[in-house]
């Protein structure tokens, strides 16, 4: 155990000191020998994939749990010995906002104020301040359960801010929040740090890390990196390159680039391929490679995510065994998925309004949009989970209304929560998926063995999927979804919360399958995933407001700038443009 004594002047600004912290759950070390400092007046990002120990650390800092070993001092108070004082000093916003959904906004605020034993005069002044700050003023009478994800987070934040805490702990405030509301959250948090509050923002999104003053990067219960994000990205200087518009096919180029010895990581960014070289690697190899695919390697500034992947020893190779073993998909028509004026009403509310688009064979098509925009409804209608009120949805030419079972046997589906049977073992899950899609006898047996081999599931066959590490659970979910070699694959937020290595492995498989002719439809909040798409449809207020290749959308939003905006900014720009066109006052409300 390493114990570091904080120097006297440093103790001055440290809001939270964590020394040699270990937390065990049974035989599992959720956190191992963790030492870190969180400073007042700064925004500290607690970054890491799901299962890294972020929430455990948050709960420990909020005094809700006691450390197994080591100490945490919040503003000088030990959380174990002085547990009673911690709630008065900290504001904690858990992942599932602790809101009472059947109470209105103002009733929730009142409740939290009473729980904090605040006086009546403080109350009214405090409410006005918080409502102005969060811009929830117009919605005080609305039930908390009826708020959008972003507004719920803002209300949760308001409740956490009730007692004007000096330490604010936010557990994944960005989850389920669309980019527009997320911007609002950042604005509020920045105002708080300016007032000297120590804010901890836990997140699985690595792009959020770059916006923090300082970052604690967690992986598997251990600190991988601690310090300002620039410090980590600086180690990657001159190692990140962009290959714009490579020939013949960017997915093939990425796959080959990842197999180069000097390349440690690579992703697709719209029409370009982005690669990161290994430490100390010469750029000659990538230059030659770029030339061979008809483009040039352009140096780009490194990102925080590059640093994380580098710390973990680089991403996986570019070859998907799964795709290699697959027979090329043959489809009668060129259209894999089609919706014609798809409309769905829930009572008075129209969730999707005459949505039409066509997805060609071998295309990755993304459905993006803020919560409640209708993308889940559209997605559900396309994979047969919901019947449209009007319009038609076709999968490989089969109408989901008239030939549901036949159409469904042509699609594979993988959801964010990886809907696996926790009561069945890994092998039983595989057998169930195979059987449900009509595989039988020897064909079923060989296919299952193949999946076990490709996804390295041998060691886990007897375990329940619930006991698997997240990465393996995702592999198993993908194995179950592609067991029957479906020509069309539906992915519902497939990699949110997953560590970047697993995410790359996942996309390597998807890219490989797409090259064999599989069509992929994906909904996502993750702007990185949108970059993998050939085309994205942006949904807002039940309609498709933009449909094009990611880079084309970026160019549209860039308004002539030479530098293309990020996908997230493009998204915000397009939505704001619609709001402005619809009604000017409402646009101001959102922005």
């Amino acid at each position: 155990m390493s114990v570091t004594a904080a120097s006297p002047e440093a103790a001055h600004t440290a809001a939270i000191e964590i020394i040699g912290l270990t937390k065990r759950f049974g035989a599992v070390d959720a956190l191992r020998d963790l030492t870190a400092r969180i400073e007042a007046g700064r925004l500290t990002g607690l970054v890491g994939p799901d299962g890294a120990g972020k929430t455990t650390l948050m709960r420990l800092m909020a005094g809700l749990m006691r450390p197994s070993a080591g100490t945490i001092r919040v503003l000088g108070h030990d959380t174990a010995r002085d547990a009673g004082r911690i709630p008065a000093l900290t504001g904690y916003m858990p992942q599932r906002f602790g809101l009472y959904e059947d109470l209105t906004v103002i009733e929730n605020l009142r409740l939290y104020a009473r729980l904090r034993a605040l006086g009546r005069t403080e109350l009214t002044a405090g409410f006005d301040r918080l409502l102005t700050f969060t811009r929830l003023g117009p919605f005080t009478a609305r039930l908390a359960g009826r708020l959008s994800g972003g507004m719920k987070q803002k209300l949760g934040l308001a409740c956490a801010l009730m007692a004007e805490p000096r330490v604010l702990l936010l557990d994944e405030p960005g989850v389920g929040v669309d980019p527009v509301s997320r911007q609002d959250l950042w604005r509020m948090v920045n105002a708080l740090t300016a007032d000297g509050v120590a804010v901890v923002w836990a997140t699985a999104y690595l792009d959020e890390a770059e916006r923090c003053d300082t970052v604690i990067l967690l992986n598997a219960g251990q600190v991988q990196f601690s310090g300002p994000p620039d410090e980590l990205t600086a180690t990657l200087a001159d190692r990140s390159f962009r290959l714009p518009q490579p020939r013949p096919d960017r997915r093939l180029v990425l796959s080959r680039a990842l197999d180069l010895p000097s390349v440690c990581d690579g992703v697709i960014q719209g029409e370009a391929v982005r690669v990161v070289l290994r430490q100390g690697a010469d750029r000659q190899e990538i230059d030659t490679f770029a030339e061979s695919v008809g483009t040039a390697a352009v140096p780009v500034p490194p990102r925080f995510e590059d640093g994380f992947v580098d710390l973990l020893g680089g991403g996986p190779g570019g070859t998907s065994v799964l795709a290699e073993r697959m027979a090329p998909v043959s489809l009668a028509g060129e259209l894999a998925v089609e919706c014609r004026a798809l409309t769905r009403r829930f009572g008075e509310f129209t969730a999707t309004d005459r949505v039409s688009f066509q997805v060609a064979k071998g295309e990755i098509f993304g459905l993006l949009g803020p919560n409640g925009a209708g993308k889940s409804t559209t997605f559900k209608m396309l994979c047969g989970l919901l019947k449209p009120t009007a319009g038609e949805a076709l999968v490989t030419g089969l109408n989901l209304r008239t030939a549901a079972s036949a159409a469904k046997s042509r699609l594979g589906y993988m959801a964010q929560k990886f809907s696996l049977y926790g009561l069945l073992s890994v092998r039983q899950n595989l057998e169930f998926s195979a059987g449900v899609y009509g595989l039988d006898g020897a064909a079923k047996h060989t296919r299952i063995e193949e999946m076990i081999e490709i996804f390295h599931l041998q060691a886990y066959l007897k375990s329940s999927p619930d006991e698997l590490p997240l990465g393996y659970r995702q592999r198993l979910a993908l194995a179950c979804a592609v067991m029957h070699e479906p020509p069309v694959l539906f992915l519902d937020e497939p990699t949110s919360g997953v560590d970047p290595i697993t995410r790359r492995e996942f996309w390597t498989h998807i890219n490989g399958m797409v090259r064999k002719g599989v069509t992929v439809l994906v909904t996502t909040h993750f702007m990185d995933e949108a970059e993998y798409c050939d085309r994205v449809a942006l949904m807002y207020r039940a309609r498709v407001i933009a449909l094009d290749a990611p880079d084309a959308l970026k160019r549209e939003a860039s308004a002539g700038d030479s530098e293309l905006p990020t996908m997230e900014n493009t998204f915000i720009h397009l939505i704001e443009a619609i709001d402005a066109a619809d009604n000017a006052p409402a646009a101001q409300e959102v922005a």
Binding site: C383, L385, L386, A404, S419, Y421, G438, K444
Partner: protein, 389 residues
């Protein structure tokens, strides 16, 4: 294509594994039936045993002693507490030390010998009305026995005012010498277990089946696998049919085990037709599965499903004739009882055990169950299909 198709086979295997691999549901299926069998058969009996009775014997004669010694030897009496005055009797009853007290007057033997009507006073604890009633019956029989063994002519009775406070009862006339003799057909000794054990077979099968099916869809909904099932090529009819299989299997095994426990464990005679009872059991289970699936399809969590099971199950048991005869219920409730599968199954079950119920009678109660099954299963399919809209 072979039948069942791989698709249906995979679903059936999944359903069976889900029930079997879940320690909670495994316990729910094995634990409570055993407990209930033991509790209902031994503890919750309507027979009286281990009763304490107070006796104030003011009679020094032979018959007073005879009565006391017979009381002491009676199987239902555990303690005989001697009392010496009316006040002491009152005190024992007040403190619930005894369920009843018998006051034998000084003149008891004298009257009997003199062939005058003799009487004893029985004071019962009216707070425990049910037990007191039964005890009174036992005491009546005991005094009747005494009377019969006496060579002298019968003793009459008179009535006196009951003691204040404790609910008093006067011993009615000892059975008339030439009065009627009651004979209980099918269960001559009125062994309570003969009634309770077969009926329990029906009640437990109902709860097990209801719980297994109610949990099945709700569990998938709660854990998110229901969507996965709905995007697969499985049709709603298939989903409902495959969810029927484990319940059918579990219910059948449990029904048979309970019947075997009745016959071999508790010595209940089985006089009816086993194949007919077996068919009725299957029909009964299918009708319950329909109800279970309906509960399941409107619940979104397993907790709601368990609550739903008891909200449906407990009134069904109370109205089925298990606890109180259906004929004693108000007209409206009698009508409702007819749409409870358990009502019909209990008649078949008890009839098959004790009175060799003829096939025509079984049929008369089997078709309502078939009708209920048809309605509830179709409704469940519609519910599942509606989740697709």
């Amino acid at each position: 294509m072979s039948w069942p198709s791989p698709r249906i086979r995979a679903q059936i295997v999944k359903e069976l594994l889900s029930v079997w691999r879940d320690p909670k549901s495994r316990f729910l299926l094995i634990g409570p039936p055993i407990f209930q069998l033991l509790i209902f058969s031994f503890a919750a009996t309507l027979e009286l045993r281990n009763v304490a009775v107070g006796v104030c014997n003011r009679d020094n004669g032979r018959w007073g002693h005879e009565l006391v010694s017979r009381l002491g030897a009676a199987a239902f009496v555990r303690h005989l507490r001697p009392a010496h005055s009316a006040a002491e009797i009152r005190d024992m009853l007040d403190r619930r030390l005894v369920l009843a007290a018998i006051d034998i007057p000084e003149t008891f033997s004298r009257d009997l010998v003199a062939l005058r009507p003799a009487s004893v006073q029985v004071i019962l604890d009216g707070r425990r009305a049910n037990s007191a009633q039964i005890l009174l019956g036992y005491l009546n029989a005991l005094v009747g026995g005494l009377n019969a063994d006496r060579t002298s002519p019968p003793a009459g009775n008179d009535s006196r005012l009951p003691l204040e406070g404790a609910g008093g009862e006067w011993l009615p006339p000892a059975a008339d010498r030439d009065g009627l003799a009651v004979r209980h057909w099918f269960n001559p000794n009125l062994i309570y277990r003969w009634f309770i054990v077969p009926s329990l077979g029906g009640v437990l099968v109902m709860f097990a089946t209801l719980l297994v099916t109610a949990l099945s869809i709700a569990r998938e909904r709660e854990l998110g696998t229901f969507d996965q099932l709905l995007v697969s090529p499985c049709t709603p009819t298939e989903i409902v049919l495959t969810k029927l299989v484990p319940a059918l299997l579990i219910g059948t095994v449990m029904g048979l085990v309970m019947a075997a426990a009745g016959v071999f464990g508790f010595g209940v005679p089985f006089t009816g037709s086993f194949p007919l009872l077996f068919c009725s059991l299957l029909l009964f289970i299918v009708s319950i599965v329909g109800i279970g699936l309906m509960i399941s399809s409107i619940c979104s969590t397993q907790q709601q499903a368990i609550l739903g099971t008891f909200a449906m199950g407990v009134p069904a048991v109370l109205m089925s004739g298990f606890a109180t005869p259906v004929e004693n219920m108000p007209q409206l409730l009698q009508g409702i009882a007819q749409i409870i599968p358990l009502t019909h199954y209990l008649i078949i079950l008890q009839g098959s055990f004790l009175k060799a119920l003829p096939a025509s009678e079984i049929l008369a109660h089997a078709w309502p169950m078939a009708a209920i099954a048809a309605v509830t299963l179709s409704a469940a399919t519609v519910f599942v299909r509606s989740k697709l809209q």
